[in-house]
Symmetry: D2
Subunit: 333 residues, 4 copies
């Protein structure tokens, strides 16, 4: 960490700061320039509050050299983490596809889709039970009943299940859920993250709509610092000025995160684009840049269901996507 001292600051003020820093178990290198003095802080700076330091009257700027995340940092954990989700491995060369409907609607629906996507090669089943919706008047999901239906589909197909949590108080309902999803809007719901850190459940941490990769890894760090290191990151598009797609899928995040962190990274092309025609090309692109898996929305009865999303594929379309994805997976080996 580097602290740049303002011009014209008295030597005794700098000395006081240096002393305070040394009391935090840091070694301080002082570089006196013509116009500025620069302090180089060596040691464990992870726990230094950068804003706190920047707020000092005598400090112009503070720059971290090392990243503020530790448990999630590849520097301290060079091997890829492999997360075991109900027997299905993700990361470290294990490619996994999560598929299923946006919302669980009925036993028939979820079981049928589960069977279909399993046939096409999906290894995990997703389905929304608690749904975060922008409007209080929109459908909020089947809630606990939806979880029960997911469990039935799990029994019928043997697929581990993935679903979103919106409230730490619901945790006990999630006992049979194999991978708990934290949605984009809750990526910085720190109290929820802390509670999840106390469990050993694998967590699928989606990127916030307007969050940087650094903030995303810091949210992973919240869970990990609580003791739960079973985290899978999921890129699902960020908010930009472009309106032709719902969000802008940031695929550069995949190789960047693989470099910064040892955690598996998967991609959700359905939510990112919001358009079913874009799911296939973006799924292929994600695979080609090294994602550890995909999360794809599939619905079984698009011609009938009103809630069949513009972003959902039919089982046949999904099968076609899987076919192409597996060819890219092959090339990537």
């Amino acid at each position: 960490m580097i602290a740049i001292i303002k011009q014209g600051v008295q030597k005794n003020q700098i000395d006081t700061l240096v002393q305070w820093l040394e009391n935090q178990n840091l070694t301080v290198h002082i570089s006196n320039g013509e116009f500025t003095t620069i302090l180089g802080l060596v040691g464990d700076t992870t726990k230094i509050d950068i804003e706190l330091l920047e707020n000092l009257d005598i400090v112009e700027k503070v720059k971290r050299i090392s990243e503020p995340y530790k448990s999630a940092n590849r520097k301290f954990h060079p091997q890829d983490s492999i997360i075991d989700v109900g027997g299905v491995k993700i990361g470290g060369g294990n490619f996994a596809v999560i598929a299923g409907p946006c919302s669980v609607e009925s036993e028939e629906q979820i079981v049928e889709i589960a069977k279909k996507v399993k046939e096409s090669g999906a290894t995990l089943l997703r389905g929304g039970a608690f749904k975060p919706r922008t409007s209080p008047y929109d459908f909020q999901g089947l809630k606990a009943d939806g979880l029960e239906l997911l469990k039935i589909a799990k029994q019928e197909t043997g697929m581990p299940i993935v679903t979103e949590i919106m409230n730490a108080n619901h945790l006990e309902l999630f006992d049979d859920v194999d991978l708990i999803q934290v949605g984009a809007r809750n990526m910085q719901n720190f109290d929820l993250l802390k509670e999840l850190g106390k469990t050993k459940k694998p967590i699928l941490l989606k990127r916030g709509l307007a969050n940087t990769m650094k903030e995303w890894l810091m949210s992973a760090e919240y869970i990990m610092s609580g003791g739960n290191e079973n985290i899978i990151l999921c890129e699902r598009g960020i908010r930009t000025f472009e309106t032709y797609t719902r969000n802008t899928l940031d695929l550069s995040a995949v190789p960047m995160l693989k470099e910064l962190s040892h955690l598996p990274v998967i991609v959700d092309p359905s939510h990112a684009t919001g358009i079913s025609r874009m799911v296939k090309p973006m799924a292929l692109a994600a695979t080609a840049c090294g994602t550890d898996g995909l999360m794809i929305e599939v619905h079984n009865n698009p011609q009938k269901a009103l809630c069949d999303g513009a972003q959902s594929l039919t089982p046949d379309e999904f099968s076609d996507v899987m076919n192409s994805v597996s060819k890219i997976v092959e090339v990537m080996k």
Copy 2:
């Protein structure tokens, strides 16, 4: 609401859709153009899920004409709402200033600041007890102890108190809090919003970092649809590409929200800019474009305290800001 039908869709498919819409108690006007058919939906479209409709195979686009929020909408509530916060009125011509430190640190600190800001004309006291921090390693606030210190400051000065909630389970601790703040990161924590909707407590709803005004009003709607109409909106800067300021204060939101909604709107220039020198000009600007109040960070001992934020004013600086603000308030009458 308007639904634009795709080119080449069969008449019987359109008929099915029209019938379904009419079953939702809407009147449907059909306009057949050369290339497109347009359905004009008349009635209470608030409860129509726009994504659900857009996802239909035969629908090209859906456009709302009327806004999706109802309780927060000025059309249905033309008079300004006036929110009573522990005896202090905000909105409808009542201008209020909330001031205090970022974090409550000690009884001495909070009581002293409270007295100082009251002297300068602040009418509500703020202070953070539960602190949302990007890093799990940063100071997380004094929590319940901080709330106790705030109450002491309230007793000493008579000022109603404002502080942030991060977890609905803490609600009972907030019994003596006069205005409960929902922070930017929790603006779409829908479960928290629902719980707050069940109380009668005034809520200060901060805008999310990357949320549109529409989403913000929809979050207000979550609280209001639960029965709690005591909402104050707080603009605190949005995330953009600019890096010289921490966020970009969107002051256009003030007159725009005053037009769209009857709820009071206040502005937080401290968090928006992150720079104490910017607080005064932006406080004046906010006042000049019609804000119902301000929220300003003030700290009492900047030369000593390491946690004295770059964005905090000293009590003397705050007094100077209040002096100028009151002149603008006078002109605005």
Copy 3:
């Protein structure tokens, strides 16, 4: 195009508007709702100025149904356009790779790189002669001399050359350039676009830093409406809040543009990410989502040259990228 009339507008005012629209050779369908009147405009609305209409006192909103671009629109030109660049075809299944250094520095440099990238499979040579730089104090390129060196490299290798134009007055210097690049900062330099529309030269139109796909296609339309239909679009990253990568590569733009337009779309992963380690994964991703080609920075002497960009590959790294890209190209067939 749909015009939504404000509530409470008099019938005679609407009649005046309808008459004016009909004078523009449009057919107008009127749909009278309970609260709103909607006008559906049928005919060639391309030439209707949407702002002009929206500015009318009686109009609430105007929505285009059809896109405002015509020459670039796939609806009116269903087949893929194939652009011939000095004998190298791009588009319609013809995949092309443009490679070369950021700046032309010397004859030796450009000729050597040209030979190397040709060996690895590049079919076009790029090199900057006129360089747009944020600072007036940064290196502005060799200008006309750089163009001469590019021509030498073209003679030596037979590769068509690609370089950026910044000023329409330089057009005659570009006589021997095979593909003229319009950089991101000039995407809406409309006077430059008009001048390029008068030539028959193939144009490589890069996306502006913060421009939507619609604006980008409208800039293509500027050139095409002048009579020059030889346009290749190049996605090179957009400006977002993320700072770990220089820009955010918007790969969804590739399939989206292929749907909206018949023009070829290529991707520049070097400028988009600004990091040489990201070039390979993003080149593979771009290929997997259907790009018609790639534009990649290659430098020959990274250990010596100070201007060897963090985003440039060595010839060996480029050869490795080409190797992997060709496998994806194979799969995509």
Copy 4:
């Protein structure tokens, strides 16, 4: 400037870099930390190309401490610049209002508006002759004829005139223009900026849609480094995700630029919001945070003219705005 060296770099490689830097007339301070070596560069770093340095294999990051602009920098020019525009002073306490129509349409129109806005207190007349439009099919302005009409209005009223240039080749047509506007889309049209740097004409440099303040000041630097220091900066809104306003007016830019630079800063609330009802509140806000002037669109015949923008005020509305603005100007003294 600080250069952070990568971990594990050999001493001799660092020595080579240090030597190269010293050859650029910089003094280099070396700080050897446990994990990193930091070079502090002292001297005139303005001319060091930061990308060039960052691209070196051995360099992790480069951080500027001092800003890269020099002529525009308040550090080297502490007094406010006052720009004389045809006898009207702007900056250094001189508040000026530029008003007029978006497009010059006819002699009658421009003369009438000129007289009206002058009566209300405007001191400069604006009117578009060359119009940058997103679509080639939209009205492109009266061009040279429009300039002639502006000159007539100048003769009739004595008001200096302001209009936009889109092409350096038109410069001789602008001889009688008092303040030449560079529009947002041309803010980084560096060839245009260079040509304007060769004149002595006052330049109104609008901020680019997605440009940072640093880039904006660098564009001012392009003009100033050519010898023309008569620059006025104009904030006109930036592109964000918000859609209720056309752009997001970044008023924090006003006090920030006043701190960073000595150049006058004015604000255009008409283009920023795109909504005439927002012009008054945002004009007042801009004035309250210290702008040196305003640029406001006024049209004379809104009920008739189809091109009367949603963002234009009538002369009566403008008079009302001026009335309130002058009260804020009074308070600000």
